[in-house]
């Protein structure tokens, strides 16, 4: 999916790459702290994914639009300032929507500021590309991060509590696997998803290999 003339990726690829090929959690293994800590329920995971995506998309857009104005000597400090601002905006927004959700996400909302995914995309992508591509990159990476967190959160909630979004999914006799909502459950689930992810990627790579030429 490269452009025909200059070898630059097509616009669609900037979005799609974050979903699978460069997925922030399953491939780049970035932002593990919130990914493991708040993915104990589907609701928390989805909220953290959306909050991170919001910050990622807007900070990418702002940093990209200011890339010719910000001297490289002060770029990291400026990026942090922009990211922290959007995190504060998200913090207020979540408090306005639901204090319970704000409490459940706890310190991890503030810690979005130091999520290496956001600063990484700002430095590696937004500071070198135009607003359109940076927005698409933020959207794709944010969507990939949200999907990954939701995958972790849904599995952990279903097995650890027998519910999904608080709705009972198993028979009342189901004995929840408490370990899945504990921190170790986060690692187990992540390992399982990585296994699935890598297996699918390897199978697709094998399928894409050209057939051996007949002797």
């Amino acid at each position: 999916m490269t452009g025909p003339l200059h070898g630059t990726p097509a616009l669609g690829d900037e979005f799609v790459k974050g979903l699978w090929r460069d997925n922030p959690v399953f491939v780049q293994v970035l932002g593990m702290c919130p990914a493991l800590a708040v993915s104990n329920t589907a609701r928390n995971a989805l909220a953290m994914g959306l909050a991170t995506s919001f910050v990622l998309i807007l900070s990418n857009a702002v940093i990209s639009s200011l890339r010719h104005v910000i001297p490289k000597q002060v770029r990291i400090a400026t990026y942090i300032l922009v990211i922290a601002t959007f995190v504060t905006v998200v913090d207020y927004a979540i408090q306005a929507v639901s204090l319970d959700l704000h409490k459940a996400l706890g310190a991890f909302i503030s810690l979005i500021v130091v999520n290496c995914l956001i600063l990484g995309r700002a430095e590696a992508f937004a500071s070198k590309h135009g607003i359109g591509r940076s927005l698409l990159d933020g959207l794709g990476m944010g969507a990939g991060f949200t999907v990954a967190l939701f995958s972790l959160g849904a599995v952990r909630e279903i097995l650890g509590s027998g519910t999904l979004f608080g709705i009972q999914v198993f028979h009342a006799d189901f004995q929840p696997w408490i370990v899945m909502i504990l921190p170790s459950g986060g690692f187990f689930t992540l390992a399982a998803w990585l296994l699935v992810f890598n297996a699918v990627t390897a199978r697709r790579a094998r399928a894409a290999e050209p057939l051996e030429a007949p002797r």
Binding site: P71, Q73, T78, V82, T85, V89, Y92, K103, G106, A107
Partner: protein
């Protein structure tokens, strides 16, 4: 042996750097203030609702509540639920027959990461704290935040002794945190292993708050008798 001349980019002037940082800072500040103004009323409403729910949680049996502020001469007078800025507030809970069940008191103090804000229920009949609920905390996830979830820790506050000394001016026994499993007296708080600073902070917050409130409440108990 001389290669092509190396062109070095001249560093930007200090003015350019200041301009970028101050400009971005001003923009960011403006955005934060705008969002704060926009969401402020909704957040205040949510907090008031959360406080109302918390009052009934820390005062089991209460069905209605009324807020009081500390007035002159350390007496208590009814006020609006949010009070006025600077007011010291206490919330009285009443049962279905309009009898005073106890008082819910807000307290705060420094935890491990940031300020912990909590609400605790005081029963004058039992002379004890009968429940707490953490309203706001940013303690370390998985460690310090167990002050909100650890059942053994929360059991400390089902009946935590805050009886007054005979002269009624101070607590007979200051609330103190002890290592888990070493609790011997009703005024001690069994700490949490792995969250020592946070659990000690809770005990300190309760001790300071109870030492200030309980003598005043006991002296003016009649101020709360009138149900809403």
């Amino acid at each position: 042996m001389s290669g092509p001349p190396v062109v070095q980019e001249s560093p930007p002037s200090a003015w350019h750097m200041y301009r970028a940082m101050v400009g971005v800072g001003l923009g960011c500040g403006l955005l934060i203030v705008s969002v704060f103004q926009l969401t402020g009323p909704t957040i205040a409403r949510n907090r008031a609702e959360a406080l109302r729910r918390a009052i009934f949680e820390v005062l089991p049996g209460a069905g209605s509540s009324r807020t009081f502020r500390v007035a002159a001469n350390d007496r208590f007078e009814p006020t609006e639920a949010a009070g006025q800025p600077g007011d010291r507030l206490v919330h009285a809970g009443y049962d279905a027959e309009q009898r005073l069940v106890g008082l819910a008191i807000e307290a705060e103090g420094m935890g491990y990461q940031d300020v912990i804000r909590l609400l605790y229920g005081y029963s004058f009949a039992e002379d004890a704290v009968i429940g707490i609920r953490v309203l706001e905390s940013r303690e370390t996830p998985g460690l310090g935040d167990r002050i909100e979830t650890d059942p053994a820790f929360l059991a400390n506050f089902q009946r935590l002794d805050v009886a007054l000394a005979p002269d009624g001016s101070a607590l007979a026994n200051p609330i103190q945190a002890v290592k888990r499993g070493e609790k011997e007296h009703a005024w001690q708080v069994d700490g949490i292993t792995g969250a020592t600073i946070s659990s000690v902070a809770i005990a300190d917050i309760l001790n300071k708050s109870a030492a200030w409130w309980v003598p005043r409440i006991r002296r003016s108990l009649d101020d709360f008798r009138e149900a809403p």
